[in-house]
Amino acid sequence: MKQVATHFFSVRKTALVVILTGLSAVSFAQGGIPIEKNFPEIKSGDWTGPRLADGQPDVQGHWSNTIANHNNFTDPQGGIPNDPNPRPADQGPREGRAPSRVSDPADGQVPLQPWALEKVKEFQVGFHNPVKPEYIEPLARCAPGGVPKSLYWHGYEISQYPGYVLFQFNSGTRIIHLDNKAPLPDNIKLWNGDSRGHWEGNTLVVSVRNHNGKALFGRSGEFISENGTIEERYIFNSERTRYNYVATITDPTVYTRPFTVTIPAKRYTEKDTPNGWHFEVEPATHAGSELILEHYERICAENNGAFGITAK
């Protein structure tokens, strides 16, 4: 009986992933993904919070973005472009929703070259009728979320070690090297790129190279090529309650100019109620009375990888 029950649970969890991936309305209604429309600026400066033994600002814990999921990169709370069944909450005047993740240029749009804009528009139509495999958002096939999309796809965990910052996402893992290793050779291309970082006060500065360009920025289809680079600044407040991700994305193959992406994030602790999107933790079994929360395995079921919303 036990085995039947756990199998069923496992299957049900997979089904939930399908729902979350395919039907944003469901996750919006149940999970409450957007929790704010505006967010405070955090200035780069000194770190006055606690430090780890190796001197790094201690920012370990569970984090998640506060704005929206990956439905729409530039109108984060505006729903999937061309959605045939748009949610009323996603409609209305643009000013009623959170700003674009593109904070520069001022129009909030990715400065795409004409050929790339054409591809994005094509994807935004094809997404709803994926007659070609490239119209399937790769995250729906269990591919890694990539940079920066992983930062607005479910909550994630940051842990730190001498020489490393580790990001564990639901789809994919990023190892940020603080150890001054030589960069990887240029011809090695990776879903999450290769990350080299260092701390400047309250800011984790990371240079991302070696992109394979395959992870789209969301269901709105914006993308980077394997020639792109991303310079990231994770600016933490010393209270360790929030950070803002401010990244400059450069790619002469796809864009007309570098642009800046800003993504706000909030930390979750034992004081917060676990939920199915931002803070997917469970109480640990132990003899004591204190609440210990832990996160179960983050492995997208590879053999379900081809579900791809509506297409094989």
Partner: protein
């Protein structure tokens, strides 16, 4: 002649234990006398390299680093002749052969016959336990006092071993990498892993398990760059009794060596992304 030598060893040992004790007092708040005493009890011979292993601030062995087995165990856990897809090997199983139940042995033979089609690793699936440990690809251990994360290069899948005195969940799922709870026996990390799914194999020769698999691992430093890894496997649906394997793990010390993510399962659709610029561009 022998007496001064004896004294010398004892003197060195005294210095070593004293320094351990001093380290435990100064600067390392989590460390305590009990830990130093445990360390002493586990290392009665002053000359063993085990005294020179990396340790966390709480005195426990620190397995942080990038590791890989050269055992060839992934070809076949059992003794085997060379064949098209494997070099010969004497196997890594205590007692040489796996104690399959009769029906399970038939299944294993089918798996072997169709291994080029059925091996989960060839599909890029998460390797499972213990296969991920001796699969011929590196993994990196990120260790804190309360947990170890094992990041496998293959699939970049992450296994957590909790070392915070917590127990298995009361209402578990079936997981690819199971649920791992570790405790320390002296300088050996003993891990109880259970609640697995039945989708992984033990090797590329079709040796397999069911979803009642339980694995007890023992991780012990032989020296600071070498780990002895033992796993005892229990699976009453497949085997007539528990059995054990043992491999050695070596630390990667090559200059600038690092994990390189290997999301093997994306290969089948890699070609579709990203959009390509027009050829004339």
């Amino acid at each position: 002649m022998s007496r001064p030598l004896q004294l010398t060893i004892q003197w060195k040992w005294y210095l070593l234990t004293s320094s351990l004790f001093l380290v435990s007092i100064f600067g390392l708040q989590a460390c305590n006398k009990q830990t130093a005493a445990e360390a002493n009890a586990q290392t009665p011979q002053a000359s063993t390299p085990a005294n020179d292993i990396p340790r966390l601030a709480n005195g426990k062995p620190d397995f942080s680093g990038i590791w890989q087995s050269t055992s060839g165990a992934d070809y076949d856990l059992e003794p085997h002749n060379h064949r098209e897809d494997a070099p010969p090997g004497a196997g890594v199983v205590e007692g040489k052969y796996l104690p399959y139940l009769p029906d399970a042995l038939e299944q294993k033979k089918k798996n072997f016959a169709e291994r080029k089609k059925l091996d989960p690793a060839l599909k890029g699936y998460t390797l499972g336990v213990p296969r991920g440990i001796y699969y011929p690809a590196p993994f990196q251990v990120f260790q804190r006092e309360k947990d170890l994360f094992i990041v496998h290069q293959f699939g970049h899948s992450v296994r957590t071993i909790f070392t915070n005195n917590t127990d298995h969940p009361k209402d578990p799922y079936d997981w690819w990498l199971g649920d791992s709870r570790g405790k320390w026996e002296g300088d050996t990390l003993v891990v109880d892993a259970r609640h697995f799914n039945d989708k992984t194999w033990f090797d590329s020769a079709g040796n397999y398990h069911s979803d009642v698999l339980q694995v007890v691992e023992r991780w012990t430093f032989l020296d600071r760059n070498t780990i002895e890894y033992q796993a005892t496997v229990t699976d009453e649906k497949v085997f007539s009794r528990p059995w054990s394997l043992s491999v050695i793990l070596h630390r990667h010390r090559e200059k600038d060596f690092q994990l390189i993510e290997d999301y093997h399962f994306t290969l089948e659709y890699d070609e579709f992304y990203p959009p390509k610029p027009p050829v004339s561009n």
